[in-house]
């Protein structure tokens, strides 16, 4: 059940991000919902599931839009793993922390992609990219985190309740 719902989330996210989200782009920037999904899963379920979700979201993006298999997969796995490390240390009902962490994740992720695939090819105008891509995308993603995290959190609660009954955990 959990696997099935997670797969549906991953596919819907990919479909939305590659088609409909382009209609609401602001100055050519769309929110990075993939990272929101990966970080939310990592925060709700821990680093293993974060890494697994990261693997499949990245693989989809690589197959359909990348030039080599494994590029986005690698970054998404690392994001899922690192942000899942602290999932025992905070209250998941809180909304501020997921928002902050998603913003941090999007910013770091895009900065690393910039360094690896643009800086090394001679694109040195970091200030332009900072003000035209990185910061708008971070803010836009941060706002998008609220509804998405609400949906994922609700689904997770429902699934955990079902699993409790199923495995008679109490």
């Amino acid at each position: 059940m959990r696997v099935f719902i997670t797969a549906i989330f991953i596919i819907i996210n990919f479909l939305m991000q590659s088609t409909v989200l382009h209609y609401i782009e602001i100055r050519g920037v769309i929110p990075n919902t993939t990272i929101i999904l990966v970080v939310s899963y990592a925060l709700l379920r821990g680093s293993t599931e974060g890494a697994i979700v990261g693997f499949f979201t990245g693989l989809l993006q690589d197959i359909f839009f990348g030039t080599s298999i494994g590029y986005f997969t690698l970054f998404n796995i690392i994001t899922g793993y690192l942000f899942g490390r602290g999932n025992h240390d905070f209250y998941r009902e809180n909304y501020i922390l997921p928002m902050m962490l998603c913003a941090v994740a999007v910013f770091l992720y895009e900065t690393i992609i910039y360094i690896i695939s643009f800086l090394f090819r001679g694109q040195l105008n970091f200030i332009y990219i900072l003000s035209n891509t990185l910061l708008p995308e971070t803010v836009y993603s941060c706002i998008f985190t609220i509804p998405l995290y609400r949906i994922l959190f609700g689904t997770n609660e429902w699934l955990e309740l079902k699993e409790k009954y199923k495995y008679r955990l109490f």
Partner: protein, 284 residues
């Protein structure tokens, strides 16, 4: 499961190492999608097509409501323009037949041959903000292959970089990884049209390696040159918007404004059978 939890770090490191190797193995060499990718595409791309069409439908309705008042005046203007263009078209067709006759007389092959074209539609765009890659709804089943060229009715759009059975992945000329050998129509000065990230969102690109002595000017028309294996010569790209000299003083570069409006692309033409035709002509 316990095994996984215990050796989490080792498994992570192993996966990362494997992925890095896979990245280097697969980088840039794939022109055909594998069976698994094609199968995935068979499932995913129809849904993308559907969502894109729904989005386009809403977009067109919103546009209609917004532009309702201007439509009548625009219609009249367009009719006038059609009349003008038709007259021009007739004149040009006469030139075309004359050209053909003369070149037959001189026994030289036509410079700008006719190509077989297939219509296709954009169904999805790159989900990130860095690149300009998109998917189109035809693939190997319709005879499309990597390195075929995509145009719209106005000019060059890009080329196919990978083809699956029912979909193809294409790279637009605005993408920072794209480069197109080009020349200015008027002066025949050569250069290379490259995408650049900082120009991508405003829909512009850059023509590099222009000789500093070249007489290229603002407003010149840029077309694809004869130097490319991929792009057939004579496809319109855009107009020169600005010319600057590079810091080294030896070459110039130009900012190009493509004829194609990349924000509102929908249906495209795929130009195929280029190599076959050329070789046939050479054989003849």
């Amino acid at each position: 499961m316990e095994f996984f939890e215990e050796h989490k770090k080792q498994i992570m490191l192993a996966t990362i190492a494997i992925l890095i190797v896979v990245i280097f193995i697969t980088y840039g060499r794939k022109t055909k999608a594998t069976f698994v990718e094609s199968a995935l595409g068979f499932v995913i791309t129809p849904v993308q097509e559907l969502t894109t069409n729904v989005g386009n439908w809403f977009g067109s309705k919103i546009d209609w409501v917004r532009n309702k008042d201007n439509l009548a005046t625009e219609n009249e203007q367009l009719k006038e323009q059609i009349a003008l263009l038709e007259a021009e078209n007739k004149r040009l067709r006469k030139y075309g037949t004359e050209n053909q006759r003369l070149s037959e007389l001189l026994k030289i092959s036509q410079k700008y041959a006719d190509y077989h074209t297939t219509g296709t539609q954009i169904i999805a765009k790159d989900p990130g903000n860095w690149y300009d890659v998109f998917l189109i709804n035809k693939g190997r089943d319709d005879g499309l292959e990597a390195n075929m060229v995509l145009t719209s009715s106005n000019g060059l759009v890009g080329k196919i970089i990978e083809s699956g059975d029912t979909y193809s992945k294409a790279l637009s000329i605005l993408d920072s990884r794209s480069s197109v050998p080009a020349m200015s129509q008027r002066t025949e000065d050569l250069g290379v049209v490259k995408g650049e990230y900082s120009l991508m969102n405003s829909g512009l690109c850059r023509m590099e390696y222009i000789d500093s002595e070249a007489e290229i000017m603002e407003g010149d028309e840029i077309v694809t040159s004869h130097l490319s294996d991929v792009y057939p010569p004579g496809i319109a790209i855009g107009r020169v918007k600005e010319i600057r000299t590079e810091a080294n003083g030896l070459t110039k570069y130009a900012i190009i404004e493509p004829y194609v409006d990349f924000k509102h692309l929908d249906t495209l033409l795929v130009i195929g059978d280029i190599l076959q035709q050329n070789t046939q002509e050479e054989a003849q």
